[in-house]
Amino acid sequence: MLGQLVVSGVAQGALYALAALAMTVVYRATTVVNFGQGDFVMAGAFVVYVLVVLAGTPFIAAGALSIALLCAFGWAVYRGLIRPILAGPHLALAMMAVAIGYALRGVARLLWGREVLPFPKVVPQGSFIVGSTVVSASDLVVTGGVVVTVLALSLVFYATPLGKTAQAVFQSERGAALVGIDVAAFQGTMWAVAAGMGAIAGILIAPITLLYPDLAAATLIRGFAAMTLGGFGSFLGAAVGGVLLGVGELFVGAYLSSRLIEITSYLIIILVLLIRPSGLFGKKITVRV
């Protein structure tokens, strides 16, 4: 049983990690926590559905198109809705993110609210057994998808000019602007990346959860828990936190009670923030005057 819990937990946790990573990207680039990230995930999945089921696009193309569309959407959201109020109070930014997510959900509900839609089949159904542990193809695809995304991001971050820009802006936004980096364009790109990651998460989640407007409500809180556990602003932390959370939930459900699965993420958030707010890998939080 232990092995099974770990394997399934890692697959689940990979999804949480993806959500946490996307939110960390946005947070590092603009110090905004995107409360609407869950709904980006949902939107990405819905776009694929529309393309595949209604327009007959082959799945891979639809997936790529969805990612591209969500990237454009993320960029537009940043330029049109976030940047104008970026200098203002955090409250307004949080509310704006909430409202954007709520608007996406409103559109989805308007169009498809009355049904739970089947998602086009992506993955072969099979599974194989290692010892006494069952690993399903879907587990592999999800984990693999997330690992590939993380590797790609790391590659970009460390080995490309964009990555250098990112490092510069993360270290000091002011300093980066002073040396001539177009911070606004960079931040827009980061929001685009985060939205694209949301699309990827949606494409990976939707075959499992099926498609409905409130799809991502659970993912959002778990993404927060992963970020909190791993340490706000730390990419490694987001990934590790996500996996730990996924495995942790299954352990709690199997060994303690399935009733406690839901509050694992809430308790992690509350306990970590009260006891060690910087989480596992985060920097100490300083309050700027």
Partner: protein, 331 residues
């Protein structure tokens, strides 16, 4: 002329929140039951409940400026406290409502503690969101008291021996309670404490440096918010008479966001306006089912972008324009 113009520029847009204007409203409202039927009276009562929700939320989120997203939690705590006191302990109505307020206030003080320890901004937001969802889990699982997910049925409200059977009867009780709490909040905000909230919001370190006891006032703001919103929850329990966990989750919280943002942050009259708009919206948009979520979201986005003071600023500008015209004519 020029002197008057300057005064007009300097006069803060507080006109609508001046004492005389605010007291007029409840007096006018006394006449409402004359023109309503059971349904419209119920909507008025529900609006009153949400006025309290908005007013309470605004104290912490608008005036104090903290991202404390525990409002749905306070609402639920108040509702469940009142339901438990009325159902299990058969307490008198006013005592149960007061009890809900007290427990709400205590919950508020509790939530203030992380804020005091330096948990701010998005961290506080996430913490309080988690707290709210944790409370929902408690409602479902503490079923010895809360009867779990079936929800609690609240017995008929009885005030000094009279059964409050109709919406019109409930209205008078609600009106008194809401007016008292809103007036008290207005007093609080206008006092030095209220000004301290704003000082803390704008620059906490500077406020502390000026001698404002920031910790004490932060707890006070949170506790007051919890008290007001907890009382709103109690009124909800009396109004709907069915208290269940599903009603106090994230979707409810988004409604509360809508009230304070659309009405006007840090503006008492704005909370009232926001409550009216958001309670009436589903009723007025009845023929366009499904659009309401989208419209509220878009309205919030629009206001955050171009009208950050909320819709109340439109009313204030209207009043100032009328004032201007009046003075112009007089001159």
């Amino acid at each position: 002329m020029r002197i008057e113009e300057r005064r007009r520029h300097d006069a803060p847009a507080r006109a609508v929140t001046r004492p005389s204007a605010l007291w007029l409203l409840p007096l006018a409202l006394l006449a409402v039951p004359l023109v309503t039927n059971d349904y419209t009276q119920y909507i008025v009562n529900l609006t009153l409940v949400y006025v309290l929700v908005g007013v309470g939320f605004n104290v912490v989120v608008g005036n104090l400026g903290q991202l404390a997203f525990a409002n749905a939690a306070f609402y639920g705590i108040g509702a469940y406290t009142a339901a438990i006191l009325l159902y299990h302990y058969k307490m008198p109505l006013l005592l149960a409502i007061a009890g809900a307020g007290v427990v709400g206030g205590l919950a508020g003080a509790l939530v203030a503690l992380p804020a005091l320890r330096g948990i701010r901004s998005f961290y506080l937001a996430i913490l309080t969101l988690a707290f709210g969802e944790l409370m929902r889990w408690v409602y479902i699982n503490a079923d010895a008291w809360t009867l779990g997910s079936m929800g609690m049925h609240v017995p008929r409200p009885v005030l000094f021996g009279y059964v409050l059977a109709s919406e019109k009867q409930k209205f008078y009780l609600f009106l008194v309670i809401v007016t008292l709490l809103v007036a008290a909040t207005a007093n609080l905000l206008r006092s030095k404490v209220g000004r301290a909230f704003t000082a803390i919001r704008d620059n906490e370190l500077a406020a502390a440096a000026m001698g404002i006891p920031t910790a004490r006032y932060t707890i006070l703001a949170f506790a007051w918010s919890g008290l007001v919103v907890g009382t709103a929850g109690a009124l909800y329990a009396v109004l709907v008479r069915q208290v269940s966990p599903e009603a106090f989750g994230l979707l409810e919280l988004i409604l509360h966001f809508g009230i304070v943002v659309i009405g006007g942050l840090a503006n008492l009259a704005g909370s009232v306006l926001g409550a009216v708009v958001l309670t009436l919206a589903p009723e007025l948009l009845r023929d366009l089912p499904g659009y309401e979520e989208l419209l509220i979201a878009c309205l919030m986005i629009a206001i955050l972008l171009v009208l950050p003071g909320g819709l109340i600023t439109v009313l204030d500008r209207l009043r100032l324009t009328l004032l201007f015209r009046e003075r112009y004519h007089r001159a």
